[in-house]
């Protein structure tokens, strides 16, 4: 690991001020630290935001669930409020990594990293999330830009993620047998305003599958999905799953998700 300056920010303002194009915010460190140890990443400044109290916590209002950026996966998984308002979101958090990861990893870290196989981005898409930063509020559909890429600026700090409470929802994933990241993960959510199908793992970036959503809008049942054609073009392909398999699994897991709604 290359040497770096460590800062522990007392508030968001200080964190943002310390940040530069050669810095990283540190919350759970589940990606940042291994990347640094493996020599895949190095930074001049590491800005620890764990001590900023206001970044952590869960709030439920009538229509939304708002989760602070440094809230740990285990906290979301075990939150009675989340379980009651959006049980599928608590279940998603319960299925991330292993207990060690869930006790360190944070929701803000997960979406800021935007790993194409991470779970949370699909929830953001499916649950019409708004990502609140120190500067602005961003719709999830605009937030995720590409592989490991978001619209965040280097000095921008995610403060909270606000999810809309759907009528029904379910997240189903096919885990990579080795890493247990999602080979594909499908998050189906039915809102009064419409249906979203957030898909992770399949392509270089999470996306809302409009074809599946369209079919489900007409008929919210797993049989409606049978007639949807899902192309394998643009799908990821690796030693664990070909693009053809992934395309078929998007369909299979969308059906599972609808059945579980």
């Amino acid at each position: 690991m290359k040497t770096f300056n460590y800062h522990s920010a007392k508030d968001v303002k200080e964190a943002s001020k310390l940040a530069s194009s050669n810095s990283a915010f540190l919350a759970g460190g589940m990606t940042t630290i291994p990347s640094m140890k493996l020599g895949l990443a190095s930074y001049k400044d590491i800005i620890d935001i764990k001590r900023i109290k206001k970044l952590s916590g869960i709030k439920v209002s009538g229509k939304t669930v708002t989760i602070g950026a440094t809230t740990k996966h285990s906290e979301v998984a075990s939150s009675k409020d989340v379980k009651k308002a959006i049980p599928s979101l608590a279940a998603l958090a319960e299925g991330i990594g292993d207990p060690q990861v869930r006790n360190r990893g944070t929701i803000g870290g997960s979406i800021a990293n935007n790993d194409p196989a991470a779970d949370y981005p699909s929830a953001c898409i499916a649950l019409n999330a708004t990502i609140h930063t120190n500067n602005r509020s961003i719709d999830a559909e605009k937030f995720f830009r590409g592989m490991f890429e978001t619209c965040l600026k280097s000095t921008e700090v995610i403060e909270a993620i606000e999810f809309s409470i759907p009528e029904k929802s379910s997240y189903q994933k096919l885990p990579n047998p080795a890493s247990r990241y999602a080979i594909i993960g499908v998050y189906v959510a039915k809102h009064k305003t419409g249906i979203n199908v957030g898909v992770t793992g399949a392509k270089s970036c999470v996306y809302n599958d409009k074809d599946l959503a369209g079919a489900l809008t007409k008929n919210f049942s797993s049989s409606a999905i049978d007639s949807v054609k899902i192309s394998s073009s643009g799908m990821n392909s690796d030693i664990h799953a070909s693009s053809d398999y992934r395309a078929n699994m998007v369909k299979a897991f969308a059906k599972k998700a609808v059945d579980a709604c």
Binding site: M1, L174, N176, P177, A178, S179, Y181, I239, H240, A241, S242, Y245, N248, M249, A252, F253, K255
Partner: protein, 792 residues
């Protein structure tokens, strides 16, 4: 006193392992130690043009940087193959030199070329990045199937062929095939595995500048053998100036049998730089450089009659040795593989032909089961295929070809002393509720799932091995084991064994047998292993040999103690030695009913006199003390056997295979500790299931290992496994006094074919290659659906 053999004694090891108090190699720190980082080839095959260390040598904290040039200058020898195998044409096998640091060429990704020693680990790492190695990259040979038609990797080794070996009779087999009603053919790839011991390899070297002694703490399954090789072949130091200690070792599975480059280099370098050295592998180094396992391509044929009798068997295999031939590398695909090729069956004629080839991949060596899993997989898959093609039940075809009389002379080599294969399979059938399968299958189908059942019957030859036999077959050492049993004056017993425990629980099992033999409480028995300065010598632990060879040496040493004790007790009790009986720790003279405990006898043996009188309790000719040793050389291998049955449920929508039920019935002869044996079976099954469903080491065309981390190499996990339903039958081994047979590898040997037979059964007989990953199974389900639709 009740016998301890057979009882579920809780492990003496548990306290320190479960509370994190184990003492592993990387826990050891020596004052003033330096840290080593190895510079490894990033290429699978290349010539080394130049190594420039000038910049790195100036880096902060660097003590020394050594390369293959220095190794050559100091005439330090390399790594060796422990067995000389002869080809069918009589020629000797061909092995390349394998220097501890490559000087001229590198042959796999991870092959070490230089080493940095620095004051801290970080400084060593930073300096290592500054070592510039100029390579001329050559085309790698990474595909096993094409290796014999590729450019030779090593000078003078034509076709990359180490040997072309034959066991059995081609002519007789041909005649048997000519008489067959049907010939069943099978092509399989036995997938390559990475052993993945929980503890990565490590060594800590302490060179004493005054006594010129080197102490090497290392992660080894056989410290004495490592010392022998390092001294005799490496030329690092004479054996008496070299101490090898393998303290607690966190798993080996065969990968820690070998002496590795790093131990030789660090031992040699410690003397050179006159500083202690510490090296601990990172996980990536483990993936790249620990010896791998399996990796065969096999074509097999089974000749059968229409009513399911076996007439003959052919096995044509290409085995991957990787870049170099290591200690058990050459014997694993030959004598550990070939003889078991015909399985548990009467097979009138057979042969195994193995071509072992070099490729630009990590060396392949023994991995839990070593050769026997590959052999068992082949025969058990082809027997199932035969049953299917003949329309027979898989149990029926097996029963039909089992031997029923023992000793049984197996076709290719072994004289199996004992067994009852019929009883084992019947028990497994009952425990697995084989007859209820049809109903369970129907129930699965009603949920849209497929269900399959798989059967395997296996035997294996372990407890290696009679020295005259193995040396006749080319082994470079004898495979006996030694033990020393010491009573101290106050009555506790220390057992020194040449076996090595890296998870096998020797401290408990060996204490049980010694306590039984000597009639002392188990708390009074300590077992010491893993240090060449403690105990006589040892051949180590692999091939399920610890109890069947090492344990018997302990029994024999204990018997010598009792014999000497009888002579001493006789004198103390004023009787003749043949009037003294030994039972429950007491020497008793029946006619006078006088007795002495073994503790009193031990005390007397060390304090042979009394005040005011010149009188010794020792008989004339006996020396003071109560210490005996034994070298045990077994008369034969041991032959555990059994039958396993499992059921899988497949989701055809995703291809996910759920292992639903697993029944294992094994015959390990006498079981010393059922708790430990069950643990051994559980672990073995997990690894065999891993090979069947998950694990697969893959290299790309340029020889890069693409499964070099847990992100891509799939290990079996607890939630992948069902509750195991274990049963035992017992036919005692006739070749050792305890009647024990090895149990360490059986689970791994049987599980892979059992699971695959079940998967293929669920797929209606459609062949699928190892491992049965979700995507492969999903594809097979799709094709099955298509062909069913056509048929309808």
């Amino acid at each position: 006193m009740a016998s301890l053999v057979g009882s579920r004694v809780e492990r003496k090891e548990d306290k320190r392992f479960l509370t994190g108090k184990g003492r592993y190699t990387s826990d050891i720190n020596i004052a003033n130690q330096t840290y080593a980082i190895f510079i490894r080839s990033p290429h699978a095959r290349a010539k080394i043009k130049k190594i420039d260390t000038s910049k790195a040598l100036k880096s902060s904290g660097v003590v020394e940087i050594l390369t293959g040039e220095h190794i050559a200058q100091d005439k330090i020898g390399g790594l060796i193959a422990g067995w000389a195998i002869r080809s069918e044409d009589g020629s000797e096998m061909k092995c390349p030199a394998n220097p501890p640091l490559a000087k001229d060429s590198v042959n796999f990704v991870g092959d070490p070329v230089a080493v940095v020693f620095a004051e801290t680990l970080d400084e060593a790492r930073l300096a290592a990045e500054l070592v510039k190695v100029d390579y001329k990259v050559l085309k790698a040979v990474s595909n096993l199937g094409e290796a014999m038609n590729s450019e030779a990797i090593h000078d003078g080794i034509d076709k990359n062929l180490c040997y072309d070996w034959l066991l059995g009779d081609r002519q007789k087999t041909k005649e048997a095939f000519d008489k067959a009603d049907k010939i069943i053919k099978l092509d399989i790839v036995n997938n390559r595995l990475i052993p993945n011991a929980m503890e990565p390899r490590a060594c800590v070297i302490d060179y004493n500048t005054a006594s010129e002694e080197i102490t090497c703490y290392t992660t080894s399954q056989n410290p004495h053998l490592s010392r022998l090789i390092m001294s005799a072949f490496g030329g690092v130091a004479p054996e008496n100036k070299l101490r090898v200690v393998a303290p607690d070792v966190g798993g080996g599975f065969g990968s820690k049998i070998n002496l590795y480059n790093e131990e030789i280099v660090c031992s040699w370098a410690s003397k050179k730089i006159e500083r202690p050295i510490k090296w601990v592998a990172e996980r990536t180094e483990s993936f790249l450089t620990d010896t791998h396992g399996r990796d065969h391509i096999t074509h097999a044929e089974l000749a059968v009659t229409n009513d399911g009798k076996f007439l003959g068997f052919k096995n044509e295999t290409i085995a991957n040795l990787g870049a170099y031939a290591r200690v058990f590398g050459t014997v694993t695909p030959t004598y550990l593989f070939g003889p078991c090729a015909t399985g548990v069956y009467i097979m009138p004629a057979a042969y195994s032909n193995v071509k072992a080839v070099y490729t630009n991949t990590a060396p392949v060596d023994a991995y839990r089961g070593a050769g026997r899993p590959e052999a068992t997989y082949t025969i058990e898959r082809i027997v199932d295929k035969a049953a299917m093609e003949l329309g027979m039940d898989p149990i029926e075809i097996r029963m039909k070809n089992f031997p029923t009389e023992f000793p049984f002379k197996q076709t290719l080599v072994h004289q199996i002393d004992s067994g009852d294969y019929v009883a084992g399979l019947n028990k497994a059938k009952e425990m697995a509720d084989y007859d209820g399968f049809a109903a369970r299958k129907k129930e699965s189908e009603s949920k849209g799932k497929l269900r399959g059942i798989g059967v395997t019957s296996y035997f294996e030859a372990c407890g290696i091995a009679p020295s005259p036999v193995v040396m006749m077959l080319g082994c470079g050492v004898g495979l006996w084991e030694s033990a020393e049993v010491r009573f101290n004056p106050t009555g506790q017993v220390t057992v020194y064994t040449g076996s090595h425990s890296h998870g096998q629980s020797h401290q408990t099992t060996f204490a049980q047998i010694a306590a039984d033999e000597l009639g002392v409480p188990i708390e009074n028995v300590d077992v010491v292993h893993g240090d060449t300065d403690k105990g006589t010598f040892g051949m180590g632990t692999y091939g399920s040999r610890s109890l069947t060879v090492g344990g018997i040496a302990i029994v024999n040493a204990c018997k010598k103690i009792v014999n000497k004790g009888k002579r001493i007790a006789a004198k103390m009790l004023e009787a003749s030695p043949d009037e003294v009986d030994f039972k429950n720790g007491e020497f008793v003279v029946a006619k006078s009913n006088k007795k002495k405990t073994i503790g009193e006898v031990a005390f007397a043996s060390y304090l042979p006199g009394v005040r005011d009188e010149v009188k010794s309790p020792l008989p004339e000719g006996d020396e003071p003390g109560l210490i005996e040793s034994s070298f045990f050389d077994p008369a034969n291998f041991s032959f555990p056997a059994g039958s396993h049955i499992c059921e899988v449920e497949i989701d055809p929508e995703t291809g996910h295979v759920k292992l639903d039920k697993y029944t294992a019935v094994d015959d390990f002869g006498t079981i010393v500790n059922p708790l430990i044996v069950e643990g051994q079976v559980h672990g073995g099954l997990a690894q065999g299931i891993g090979q069947a469903l998950y694990e697969n080491a893959q290299y790309d065309d340029s020889g890069q290992l693409i499964t070099a981390s847990y992100m891509d190499y799939t290990m079996p996990r607890a939630d992948d496994l069902p509750d195991f339903n274990l049963g035992f039958t017992c036919t005692k081994a006739t070749t050792n006094p305890l009647g024990v047979k090895g149990c360490g590898e059986a689970g791994t040997i049987a599980a892979t074919p059992t699971v695959m037979n079940a998967v293929i059964n669920a797929l209606g007989g459609k062949e699928i290659s190892l491992p049965a990953t979700a995507e492969k199974v999903w594809k097979a389900c799709k094709e099955m659906k298509k062909s069913n639709a056509k048929a309808a």
